[in-house]
Symmetry: D2
Subunit: 399 residues, 4 copies
């Protein structure tokens, strides 16, 4: 059956020509990203376990992780956590199949600890966090349902859509890269905590980056030291960002600091979740790692959903892959925007509509790109099993 | 100090001229909307209580509500709930001010019960739901912080942005209205549960609506009855939708039903949260009541945040108000898109940038609308205290 | 197989002849008693449901209920609850049998609300309490295990013992009766809360009762009113107690009150659990409704355990029934003490030992009572199915 | 003010002369003992922290710990934990004093992990247990209350009693010692888990010990190995027990085993809490480490209560110390039983009554021992501050 793929020209100024562009990235230690990371890692662990025990992935969705902030008293040279963060792992997962019980909770907790160790290197897992787990069962027959799906392409679990676009704008690349740079700089500045937020505002030819970075108190001697570290980091980030653009770049860091009163962004553990900032899955970066109000976005959380029939996950990842290849391979395309819409119960490779909207380069016409774009979209839809494999293997970041 | 307001022309085809448009609305009984509603009502109750006890609103954010689904066994004529939903109210709120203690938890629970009663009329609050409350404190001096803000405009709590646009497209209006119609039809069809999702796909001149509506089992005698009710509802909805447009309208309801096998969308309580569907704040509708991937969106949850300094709330509501008035009052504007970006610590009425992007009607030029648009944007920024009053009084829906 | 019943003479002064006797009773609204009551009512509900659905009682133990106290601000004329009590229902229960699912959690919560309404008449169930439920499954095959037991007498679940004695001493009767009197007096003094504790100390021929009774604030106008009510209640209690004994009776109530400073035992809801006093199953009264350090006691919680094979429940209730009948029917017995010891896996009607210790009246010899005592003990052991019926029907109080 | 101390003769057969004696000990890894240990260690940590920060112990009671059992699948050679135990630390503790905040939760969790490591050596703290903490505040002024108490002896927090006796009977010593022996034997038999229960029944001159010991699966190769280990352990225990008595000793271990069907007492972690057995504070051993239905007992949990004014703790420990010294130092005393009764609000060193009941050796009269017993009791009451020091230093076991 042929797929309902619509390729359409979008007559709008490309993002780089618009005056105002707003781009945000929440770093891997931001409470919302931590929630996303936990959700996705737990889903990935379950996938692998199901595959190894039963030869196929069973039903699960672990996309509802809640991080309830704690209380702390940071202090130069090292403060203390007063009340640990509380992390609630919820969702649902098949627990029994073929009369064998899967240790879902134990696996979830083990995976969660492993991920936290990686994402928040200054967090003491033994005392700074309470890890609770309330993963429920799905309906009792879901083991069977996925069984039937084994022979064919699964049916969409919901009426929902995924969104993607390509290529990333310069500002988007710089915002993304700036967080990566901060992580790299940890070896030189151990006080850099992983809870980072980079907000980029391009105002014509000027890119303003507002960086928030939770500083780890025990690596900062005093206020002077703090000010100096901040200055050094900003200098380094600016130099890196300027190497990526001809536009003017301004960087400000921890603009909420009030140095005179000594009130600065200091933490014990490198994350604001230690003191008042909660986190939840799906509230942070989209599947391409960014929040881009100037671009189409899906609100579906990508992280933690099962990669078999949950279109909220598959379609977002697929739309990004599709867009990337079309932008790269089809000559004449300035920008491409993909929307994939499912209908509950229909095969996931047969979307209700696959909308491919292209902004053309000067001198190109829709007819010149239409067929190739359509073929690439069609190919990726046919390749959903391959995308699922990429998800199992952890090759596709989700936030 | 003059505000950084940028009015810019957006050269793009208006939404109505684009081929593909996707619009979604989650009804008031959808688990994500229930979470939004709980968050917002609790914040509103706290605002009123703080105002009445202390003459001003104290710090709080109740925007992290988690709904963990239960288990049920629906059955024609009336089934049973096996495991109640678990609703966790979290967030933080000032508990002590001027040596007086505010009964935050008791108020939160009372408000939550009241809201659930309204949003899910078929839910038995005594046995179908476990209502837990873990609302924490903020930092101990926040009572003071808001005190200082009393004399002036508060400072932004974060570097964040809000987004709005106007007017609503025809499809957007129809999608929104269709949920309202279903709620109105409850008097005629008591089996209509409040957990509704309307997905609209406009494909050129054809509007396809996919409606999911949790049917309440005790009002449905058997499968034939179910099929008949569904047919009658679809007929009614189609007639109402068609009255709103000259386009072709197709409506499908509960497309996941498999009538042959008897597997239909039946619930005991009118919400899918009774059986497997979790919910969380900020995962559903944007502040204008819709999810619109073809339009700019903010990921900030609007519901539950404090209306004093939380730009994630204020800027989203403000951007919508601003857009609505500009679209209505300024001649020559086809569409207007607003982005408001804050910087942490700066006065909320002084955004880092207020971007006003306009799509002009044929024959109009930017210079003709620029000044008036700028003035309206400026006026709304100056009117933030008025917006806060509207929030206290519950005049601004948030989802 | 004959039972290992040992009847032995205990040469000790009967309790009435000892100089010092200490007796305590926690009233039905005391946090520990509330926990006991919830546990037992939930078990009873499950028994009835299992019987009606499957014709037999399935495995369960709901004897671990935890009441975490809240916070309140009582005030003459009516104060407020600041933070609700948190009641956690835990334990385990068979959830699936013969492919049918039992709504254990819904039933537990419904029963809990019903019991709280009865035990704490001034508690507003909608806002003064958070009711959480974490009842787990047992091992998956327990449905079968009880099946096999159907044809015969069940096997003891543990190596454990139960204890009972008779008759109650005069002080024991007065202590027990004093709580009942307070409950009866509620119609005259609505300020009497159900959280009552009566501590009796008999010092030779003087009985001192120390009564703690949580007064409900909205029925008390002011401090004078409080003092007057307290005086009237004490007078009434003293008159009732004196009618039961020739000994001197002194009663003090709420001795922690400091009237001068206005610090008195006032509550919003009639229970100290609203403000700091936690509760748990098995920490309060023994199966005979009393705490009696001068008598043998078992530490096994009687409430909430399944009445089929849990010797911690059955043997305590049985020992009391056995003792009561022996004391009543066998001539020459002043006091009788029963200890029943099980061994895990052995039939519950075949205890490892059933020890019957008797204190004889003057002029009687062991040989005169031994046979009849033994027969009665034997009869009760044979009548365990009858005891189980009495438990199902709620005829045997457990605390 | 002289204290109300009553020394009385108890005319009863000493325990060694009675026919039947029942004695139980729950080992340090038994769920109830684990709860007791957690409660006491957390209280001790808080005491030390309060002392070091403020020079005195502040109000707290951490005596409500709940252990909700998990699920596991033990297997010879090593099985797996499916669902972790859930341990809820509750109670209340002063969190703020002199404007300084005490990290109560962090300390509680750190202490809990430390204790679990010691008490359950085969438990993987990272994946076999969920450690949650809901320790609340007391009333806000408690910091002050204890302040006032600083200058004098504190007032009793409740109307309550403590109980003690001495010396231990032979059976009591053997039961206690048998658990210790099992712990010592872990070096030789690593499969011995710490969840041990020893039930002793002395029937005339025969002591029957029923030992339950959770075997750790990864140290047991197969069923034959299990049977052999069990045989070797029983042999060793019997030899040790027989060295302590001239009576006949019979030992049975894990009597619930059904070797034929392969159903034996195997665990992954050495505790039954991994699979169905919950635990709670105050449900296990009394302060002397035993459960003794043939002796007077208090139901007050000793573990976790504050050692400043909680008579439920102080009086139980004091009664045991008092009894031990009277039994040791006063010539002519066969057995001594102590009951200490408080009245709320009265100084803790002025009990409502201190009852000293003595069973005299042949040939002794009450008048010969009365004065010395009274003096020793009086001395210990005067020495309460010393007892508190012993508690802080961890010199007095509580379970």
């Amino acid at each position: 059956m042929s797929r309902n793929i619509k390729v359409e020209e979008l007559t709008q100024r490309p993002i780089e020509s618009q005056d105002i562009e707003v781009v945000e990235r929440k770093g891997i230690g931001h409470p919302d990203s931590v929630a996303d990371g936990l959700a996705e890692e737990i889903s990935r662990t379950l996938c692998q376990e199901y595959l190894s025990r039963f030869g196929r992935v069973l039903h699960h969705n672990t996309d509802k992780i809640q991080i309830v902030a704690g209380r702390s008293r940071p202090s130069f040279g090292g403060g203390e956590v007063i009340q640990p963060q509380y992390i609630l792992l919820t969702g649902r997962a098949t627990r029994i199949c073929q009369d064998r019980e899967i240790p879902v909770d134990t696996m979830a907790i083990r995976t969660a600890r492993k991920h936290l160790k990686k994402a928040l290197t200054n967090l003491d897992l033994d005392t700074h966090v309470i890890l609770d787990c309330k993963i429920g069962m799905g309906s009792s027959d879901l083991c069977d349902i996925f069984d039937r799906d084994d022979v064919a392409i699964p049916s969409a679990n919901d009426t929902s859509f995924g969104v993607g676009y390509a290529p990333l704008s310069e500002t988007e690349q710089i915002v993304y890269r700036t967080e990566q740079s901060l992580l790299e700089l940890r070896s030189r500045f151990p006080s850099i905590g992983e809870d980072i937020k980079v907000m980029g505002l391009r105002d014509g030819q000027v890119i303003n980056l507002t960086v928030a970075c939770a500083m780890v108190d025990r690596y900062v001697d005093d206020l002077d030291h703090y000010v100096q570290i901040k200055r050094d980091i900003v200098k380094e980030l600016a130099s890196r960002a300027r190497a990526m653009t001809k536009r003017e770049v301004n960087i400000q860091m921890n603009v909420g600091d009030d140095v005179k009163s000594g009130s600065v962004y200091l933490t014990v553990t490198g994350t604001s979740a230690e003191m008042g900032d909660d986190g939840a899955v799906g509230r942070g970066n989209r599947a391409n790692g960014l929040i881009t109000p100037s671009r189409p976005m899906s609100l579906e959380a990508t992280s933690g959903k099962n990669p078999i029939n949950h279109v909220g996950k598959i379609y977002n990842l697929l739309a990004n892959l599709m867009a990337a290849q079309i932008a790269r391979d089809v000559e004449g395309i300035e920008e491409v925007y993909i929307k994939l819409l499912s209908q509950i119960g229909k095969p996931v490779d047969q979307p209700h509509v696959a909308s491919v909207q292209v902004v053309l380069k000067d001198g190109y016409r829709l007819s010149a790109v239409q067929r190739q774009a359509q073929e690439l979209a069609d190919m990726w839809l046919a390749d959903i099993p391959k995308v699922q494999q990429m998800i199992f293997r952890g090759e596709l970041p989700t936030f």
